[in-house]
């Protein structure tokens, strides 16, 4: 099977390092275009929806605090991807926003993606507990080839 476009989920963690290394090897052997993606988790306002008491300032201060952490993670993910993909001719890195699970399913099912590579433990740094089931959900809903690493 020939892969022309490979997408790998990167979050800067040790879990995603293995996925990036596999993706780079595969892209090199297939001469494929490699795209690294990080997803800023946009579900936090919804996740704290039960909070009706906070003043607008306190709520906004909290969301800004979470956003700063995620932007730092995005920077770490980019550094991880660029370090591993050094020497690859066609390697790009993109930052998306949304629910990490939904964005990964969308990427996996896109016509432009021949293979999605990800670790089951990716995006745990985003924090929300439901992301623990990301790998299982992806395996259930992906319609195109995926490589799911531990």
């Amino acid at each position: 099977m020939v892969f022309s476009n490979i997408v790998v989920a990167v979050d800067g963690s040790t879990a995603s390092q293995e996925a990036v290394d596999h993706a780079v090897d595969l892209a090199r052997h297939s001469n494929a275009v490699l795209t690294g993606i990080f997803i800023l988790d946009s579900q936090w306002p919804d996740f704290i929806g039960n909070d009706w008491q906070s003043s607008k300032g306190a709520r906004q201060g909290f969301l800004d605090h979470i956003r700063v952490e995620q932007e730092e993670q995005a920077a770490a993910a980019r550094a991880q991807f660029e370090s591993a993909s050094g020497g690859l001719e066609h390697a790009t890195f993109h930052v998306h926003a949304g629910d990490p699970t939904d964005v990964l399913i969308e990427q996996a099912n896109s016509d432009k993606t021949d293979l999605l590579i990800t670790s089951r433990r990716v995006f745990q740094v985003s924090g929300r507990p439901s992301l623990k089931a990301l790998g299982t959900t992806l395996a259930r809903k992906a319609l195109r080839p995926i490589l799911l690493l531990p």
């Binding site: 800023l40 988790d41 946009s42 936090w44 306002p45 919804d46 996740f47 704290i48 929806g49 039960n50 909070d51 009706w52 008491q53 906070s54 003043s55 607008k56 300032g57 306190a58 709520r59 906004q60 201060g61 909290f62 969301l63 800004d64 605090h65 979470i66 956003r67 952490e69 995620q70 926003a97 629910d99 745990q124 740094v125 985003s126 924090g127 929300r128 507990p129 439901s130 992301l131 623990k132 089931a133």
Partner: protein, 382 residues
């Protein structure tokens, strides 16, 4: 990352579908479902569904919101309804401000003295217990700080207020919130049963759940589930005074935990994070509490007529009408609150934060009930 909603009026047109769903749900519940449950004969007993399950329009509304999100919409509120459900927060705040019309300042002083004693004691003891257990379980310091305030003050709001000050990571906050909401939802449904089984009065029940339930939304729901009436002396009127006391303590609790967190650390790291009590009071003090106090002021001045306090003249027509509106506003708000309960998030919560949360939450819940029994003769009815 899309962070917050735009202003109320800009948001209103896009909120209409969600608001319509919330209003329709509550209208159907109050006009058809609740009356049907009251009259239905189950196991040969008329009204069994209400007498035994204690389901009233409040709990039914929360259950509907919960089913919309988790069953009908597959775990996520569709975009078309999302802004309307966001406005449910505003409805609850409006309802709480209107609750100010249940009290005069003298009634607040009578109830509030005991509330300060109970809430203050429980907040301090809970913080100490969490800090001690956090150390014993080897929990991260930031995580412990978030849990300390979330479990002692008022759940999600306290976690939101504390996290930036103790450098909490997203995962810390997420697990704290999931733990609190899981425990809060459980206590919200079982408390009315326990209250009725123990024959608690509205005063005792309100004092118990106002102290023992972790999250404010669930305090409100559990109070109205026990007795849906909104009047002086009902469970909600007592529980909300307790709750207001907890809310007022947020800036103080954030300050105390921040001081603990930064103790022994390099002060230069704390720049912009460790704030003075005055700054925290300005930043974290919930404005709706001021609205509530303004309402109490007008009520005390007799702006809405007689309040209907115990041994006093009956409530005026204006006050009665406001109380009817409140029942609807809380009904709408709590359908929205149910729509924010995500089973996926709760199911995946776990680990040490959950263990610590369950130990402290259960201790607080049971201890509050014991204390309320012990001081029942000192609780003052209004």
């Amino acid at each position: 990352m899309s962070n917050e909603s735009p202003g109320f009026f800009r948001q209103l047109p896009s909120a209409l579908p969600g608001l319509a769903l919330i209003i329709l749900t509550m209208v159907v519940i109050r006009n058809w479902i609740e009356p049907w449950m009251t009259d239905a004969v189950v196991f040969g007993s008329k009204g069994w569904l209400v007498k035994v399950t204690h389901l009233n329009y409040i709990l039914l509304g929360i259950i509907c919101g919960l089913l919309y999100r988790n069953i009908l919409f597959g775990g996520k509120m569709p975009e078309i309804f999302s802004n309307g459900f966001k406005l449910s927060r505003l409805m609850i705040k409006t309802g709480i401000i209107m609750l100010g019309s249940l009290y005069t300042f003298s009634a607040i002083v009578q109830l509030g003295a005991m509330a300060i004693f109970l809430i203050g004691g429980f907040v301090i003891l809970t913080i100490i217990m969490v800090l001690w257990l956090g150390k014993a379980f080897g929990l991260d310091r930031s995580m412990t700080g978030v849990l300390a305030n979330a479990l002692s003050v008022c759940g999600v709001s306290a976690a939101v207020a504390t996290s930036p000050a103790v450098e909490a990571k997203a995962s810390h906050v997420a697990y704290a919130i999931a733990t609190i909401l899981g425990f809060g939802i459980l206590t919200m449904f079982i408390s009315p049963f326990i209250g009725h089984a123990l024959n608690l009065t509205d005063l005792q029940y309100g004092a118990w759940i106002g102290t023992g339930i972790l999250n404010s939304g669930q305090v409100l729901a559990a109070a109205l589930a026990f007795n849906p009436n909104v009047a002086p002396g009902t469970a909600v009127s007592v529980a909300e005074i307790w709750n207001i006391m907890r809310v007022i303590s947020i800036p103080f609790a954030v300050f105390a935990v921040t001081v603990w967190y930064w103790a022994g650390r390099d002060e230069s790291d704390a720049t912009g994070k460790k704030k003075s009590l005055g700054t925290l009071l300005v930043e974290k003090f919930p404005v709706f509490v001021i609205g509530f106090l303004v309402m109490v002021f007008f009520t005390s001045m007799g702006a809405f007529g007689d309040v209907g306090l115990k041994n006093g003249p009956p409530a005026s027509e204006t006050i009665k009408m406001m109380r009817l509106w409140m029942t609807w506003i809380f009904g709408f708000g709590l359908v929205g609150l149910g729509g924010y309960i995500d089973f996926k998030e709760l199911r995946q919560a776990g680990g040490t934060p959950l263990k610590l949360g369950l130990i402290v939450g259960t201790t607080k819940y049971v201890l509050a009930l014991i204390v309320v029994f012990l001081i029942k003769d000192y609780l003052v009815a209004i």
